[in-house]
Amino acid sequence: MSSVRPDVSQVLARLAAGVVGGWAFTWGFVTLGIVALVAVGMSYHDAELLVYLLAFLLYLALLCWAFAVRSLARLWLTIGGGAALMSGAAWLAAGAMA
């Protein structure tokens, strides 16, 4: 398997998508998740704990997926789009709820 020689730009693009993009996507999940759970009546503390328990499994799945998915465009669109949508929604909702 030492013949595996992916080109550097591909690796960097996937690494960035998995690590940085994955963090941003998970951040969106964490903030939106807490907001949603608080909105349905859970205490902030419990909501935070529950979301944290799931967050790293999600982050891990994203990281692995970044190296498994074929299309780089689809990877970046999903991760970037999801991160932006969820973070934005959480930010707006938190402002409205406070």
Partner: protein, 557 residues
């Protein structure tokens, strides 16, 4: 980018494993040592070699000590950059806390101090002392508890405090490790069979890979669990939602909680003395007993010290269960009247307390504690054999191509695995040799550790040669064996606690550390011997004179 899914996973496993392996080795090794941090504390601070004690009287013994605590000097120096004006000579005291476990002979006392004119209004710093609870005497500040104050923070933060950089590096490594575990499972078709496969007499490359798979697979659930819960424990650092975008939500919930519990968030500004705390502790213990869970105090917290809004919270030590709940009982500080008993945890909190409790292990269960220790070391073995496999697979090809990167990888591997052990053993030797009265003792000890580690990297780069690639490994393993033996001998000479005496007296804390050191010495010596034989065989085979009955690594890979 990869022809198949498996090739993608192989790439992920190889490179995440290699790059993050250097960090993970540190996390695993010092995590394994942290399992016995309190025992290493006793080994490194001879004045604390006595039986663990229950919490002594707060009113008679602890209160006067709390009043003497001043901010830790490095904390105070760092805080000067976080305030807009000059700091007053004495800072306002915010809270007192004292923490102990069933493994602590000595007590940790902490005081928080507010920072007037701080940019962040909630900003504060700490001061702490370590106390002999039998007499109330403070342990000298230069006596560094190596287990809980040096190895343990190294395990989760690498002692890189700037911007919490160490936490982020460890977190990234933990995430990468989870990815390496997942991809490792993906690239192994016969996972179950590998549980039972170790061929120590087969070709070296084969037995190194067997050992890598064995240690990786046997302890897989253990390693997955620890990396994941480690991340969850510090999730507030990695995803600080409550202190940033969700701060309004978080603060609103905190105020609602304060109204519900009757535990004020802010001081009233009216001075008031503290009622006898011992009576509150006794009352809390009666209440635990009434619930059928009599126990010792593990954590005591006095909030808003000296204020009419002061509260005293008493938490139970989690000696007898895995989960981390403290059954907190809270009192009004000025009167001693009961304010609140913590209700049973909800489902989410209960799961979280159980998972973090399983990681942090406050419970009393010595066989399990040793299994944790061995699980951590199995992780070290998995990473070390991964390094060896990586290097051996590429050595000939890179030599033929004239590529130099592998030499750096090999030097880093030697320094990360063997060199880290050598530096740790050197630290223990320094701990026994430096005079107790030396003013900068803790700093000197730490310098010995870091400089020795750096020296092992220098040694590994200097002694490695394409003709004898294993020489740095052999020499550092030998050094590790000698230094660990020396540490055991010095412990006997400088403290009189020779191994046979501590074991005869039933002092398993100090005797156990000595025993573990002897175990490390034995393993290091065996590894050095095995590698030396390999190196000899290899040279012989390179010279074309293959010895009779040779079962080395040349023919059968």
């Amino acid at each position: 980018m990869f022809a198949t899914f498996r090739l993608g996973m192989t790439w992920l496993h190889t490179w995440f494993g290699l790059v993050l392996g250097f960090v993970l080795m540190v996390v695993f090794f010092f995590g394994a040592l942290s399992v016995f941090d309190r025992e290493i504390d006793r080994w490194s601070v001879p004045a604390s070699r006595f039986e663990p004690q229950p919490l002594p009287s707060f009113d008679r013994l602890l209160a006067p000590v709390f009043e003497r605590i001043v901010p830790d000097a490095p904390d105070l120096a760092a805080a000067r950059d976080r305030v807009t004006g000059p700091l007053p000579a004495t800072l306002p005291v915010m809270d007192y806390s004292v923490y102990t476990t069933h493994r602590d002979p000595v007590l940790q006392l902490y005081t928080s101090f507010g920072l007037p004119n701080a940019r962040d209004p909630g900003d504060h710093i700490h001061g702490h002392v370590t106390l002999d609870p039998r007499t109330g005497a403070e342990l000298p500040a230069q006596a560094r508890k190596l287990g809980s104050e040096f190895f343990y923070p190294l395990h989760y933060g690498l002692h890189l405090e700037w911007k919490e950089l160490g936490y982020w590096i460890v977190g990234l490594a933990a995430l990468g490790m989870l990815a390496a575990l997942v991809s490792g499972v993906m690239i192994h078709r016969r996972l179950f069979r590998e549980l039972f496969t170790f061929r120590p007499r087969a070709s070296t490359q084969r037995s190194v890979l067997d050992l890598h798979n064995l240690t990786g697979v046997v302890a897989l659930p253990f390693h997955f669990f620890f990396a994941l819960t480690g991340l969850v424990i510090f999730a507030g650092i990695y995803f600080p939602a409550g202190t940033t975008v969700l701060r309004p939500l978080h603060d609103a919930d905190e105020r609602r909680e304060a109204a519900l519990t009757g535990l004020p968030l802010e001081p009233s500004g009216i001075a008031a003395p503290l009622a006898p705390v011992d009576a509150m502790v006794a009352d809390a213990q009666r209440r635990w007993q009434a619930r059928g869970m009599a126990g010792e105090v593990g954590f005591l917290f006095v909030n808003h010290v000296g204020d009419a809004a002061a509260t005293v919270s008493v938490y139970r030590a989690g000696t007898d269960r895995v989960t981390l709940t403290g059954e907190g009982i809270h009192y009004r500080g000025s009167t001693g009247e009961l304010l609140r008993e913590d209700p049973p945890q909800g489902v989410v909190g209960g799961i979280n307390d159980f998972l973090t409790g399983l990681h942090l292990q406050h419970f009393r269960h010595w066989p399990l504690r040793w299994l944790y220790f061995l699980g951590g070391l199995a992780g070290c073995a998995c990473i070390a054999t991964g390094f060896l496999f990586f290097a051996r697979k590429r050595r000939e090809r890179h030599a033929a191509q004239g590529a130099g990167g592998l030499r750096l990888v090999e030097a880093l591997s030697v320094a990360t695995v063997a060199g880290m052990g050598v530096a740790t053993a050197a630290l223990l030797v320094a701990n026994r040799l430096l005079p107790q009265t030396l003013a900068d003792r803790a700093t000197v000890e730490e310098s010995v550790f870091w400089l020795t580690w750096l020296a092992t990297l220098g040694h590994a780069s200097w002694r490695a040669s394409p003709r004898q690639p294993l020489r740095p490994w052999i020499e550092q393993c030998a050094a590790l064996a000698v230094l660990t033996l020396l540490a055991v001998a010095l412990n006997a000479v400088t403290t009189g606690d020779a191994l046979w005496r501590t074991l005869a007296a039933g002092d398993w804390a100090v005797g156990g550390v000595d025993l573990a050191l002897l175990g490390f010495a034995l393993v290091a010596a065996l590894v050095a011997r095995r590698l030396r034989r390999l190196e000899r065989d290899r040279r012989a085979s390179v010279a074309g004179a293959l010895p009779k009955g040779f079962a080395g690594d040349a023919g059968r890979a």
